[in-house]
């Protein structure tokens, strides 16, 4: 399968059907955004690396379980999962490793160069920059409020002085546009 020509869900479907390289392609597409998301929220690079690994491992456990539906928007799913893992890390002081343990994934070992890379990711505006670069302003605002600021739809709607349905449509369009743009 020429993975570059397929959308995220097709990549996950292909990975589920045995084309493991497709999961690698999905990882290459989105690891920078997920890393930027977690690295700007934690002080220790090792924690950011653990969160990145656990987030993608959690997605892989879904890919490998045919009873579970694949996420409709893998990028959105990754960011929401990373956010949940971050919260659980704050609550318990450690990064959950359930998915990595289930998959028997080798631990992430970091050298000086890796730590530098993570620190850069935390200071870069890759996440917001890419969103605003790729989307019309109102879609970028809606997506940022929903995915990055994690606000509820009703709150975003009140703030934008419009209805929840409009905000949901903007977020949905934004994700579709992002998917299309990132895939081509």
């Amino acid at each position: 399968m020429d993975s570059m020509a397929h959308d995220d869900r097709e990549l996950l479907r292909a990975a589920r059907n045995g084309e493991a390289e497709c999961f690698g392609e999905l990882f290459r597409r989105h690891h920078a955004v997920v890393l930027a998301f977690v690295a700007r929220r934690v002080d220790e690079p090792e924690v950011a690396a653990d969160l990145l690994a656990e987030t993608f491992a959690a997605l892989l456990t879904i890919v490998r379980d045919r009873r579970r539906d694949l996420p409709i928007s893998p990028l959105g799913w990754l960011l929401v999962t990373a956010r949940n893992l971050l919260i659980d890390r704050h609550r318990h002081g450690i990064v959950v490793e359930a998915a990595r343990r289930q998959l028997q994934l080798a631990p992430v070992a970091l050298d000086d160069r890796d730590i530098e890379l993570i620190l850069e990711a935390g200071h870069s505006d890759e996440l917001l920059g890419r969103i605003h670069e790729l989307l019309p302003l109102e879609q970028a605002d809606a997506l940022t409020a929903r995915i990055v600021d994690e606000l509820d739809y009703d709150v975003i709607a009140r703030r934008a002085n419009t209805s929840q349905a409009v905000i949901r449509k903007r977020v949905s369009r934004a994700l579709a546009t992002l998917r299309a743009t990132l895939e081509h």
Binding site: H31, L52, V96, E150, R159
Partner: protein, 293 residues
């Protein structure tokens, strides 16, 4: 020279390529067994059921009942993703917070249906609230009241996907089930005398209670909850429906509540359940640092 990103990708692809281990025999669906094997299995299950029934009848088994003795239906499913995302204690309970539904006996609130048995949690105790359970249900008779001509009275309507907090004590139970919006609107608070208890979503680290006639109170959030000692209401005890004063002191109701994140930034302020202010556009608060133990 490879980075950890390259190594992680290689590792994920390696795992993705690995064959999926076959499910253990006890997880195989019954339909895959031959007819003879199915009959054998059913016979075995009948024996187990015969042994288990007396235990269930005396309340040791996982049949759930409310304190009026009615059976409460159970669900093995998960709460809606929105509720899991809002409440870390549901998603990932700390040690000791997981509650096995089989231990609950006949202690649940009446009017709930489809209690999600894998998501019953013991909330952190607080003065006045020593044993509080948090759980979610698929539905409950907690909706707005509507006149039912057949009954000739107002009856509560069915509401879906509720978050319930219930006090469990030897002397009885009390609690409430609300929909998710009550939590996100900052309105989830209860009081017992001057003692107060509140529920907040992930990301809230501290709350400030603002009063019209008293100084502000700042409380730390622990596992999505906070508690406080209120001030007596200037008007004195409130009257019950029969005109008699309620027993015990009546607390002054906070005029508003402000949510702060782990860095002390204001997330939002809630006045009588309404959001009075919001974080500035583009503000990013660290989720969940709120719920440190």
């Amino acid at each position: 020279m490879s980075t950890f990103i390259d190594r992680l990708e290689t590792e994920l692809v390696r795992v993705c390529e690995a064959p999926i281990a076959a499910r253990p025999p006890w997880q195989l669906p019954l339909r895959r067994l031959s007819r003879r094997a199915r009959l054998r299995t059913l016979a075995g299950l009948s024996v187990i059921a015969a042994i288990a029934t007396p235990a269930l009848a005396i309340g040791l088994g996982p049949i759930l009942r409310d304190f009026e003795g009615q059976t409460v239906s159970a669900s093995a499913g998960a709460p809606p993703a929105e509720q899991l995302a809002l409440l870390g204690i549901l998603r990932d309970p700390p040690p000791g917070a997981y509650v096995n539904h089989a231990t609950l006996g006949s202690s649940l609130m009446p009017g709930i249906h489809g209690i999600r048995t894998n998501y019953i949690r013991l909330l952190p105790p607080a003065p006045g609230f020593p044993h509080q359970l948090l759980y979610t249900v698929t539905s409950g008779d907690f909706g707005a009241a509507r006149f039912d001509p057949a009954v000739g009275a107002y009856v509560p309507t069915d509401a879906k996907n509720l978050i319930c907090v219930q006090q469990v004590e030897a002397g009885g139970v009390g609690g409430d089930c609300t929909d998710t919006s009550v939590l996100t609107s900052g309105h989830w608070r209860e009081s017992a005398g001057l003692d107060g208890y509140g529920l907040v979503p992930d990301g809230v680290a501290r709350v400030i209670l603002h009063y019209p006639d008293h100084p502000d109170q700042t409380e730390t959030v622990t596992e999505n909850t906070f508690s406080w000692q209120g001030y007596p209401a200037p008007a004195g005890p409130i009257e019950k429906g029969n005109g008699q004063p309620s027993p015990g002191p009546t607390p002054e109701v906070p005029a508003s509540v402000t949510w702060l994140d782990a860095y002390g930034n204001v997330i939002s302020t809630h006045t009588n359940g309404n959001v009075a202010s919001q974080p500035p556009a583009g503000a990013i608060y660290a989720p969940g640092a709120a719920t440190e133990r």
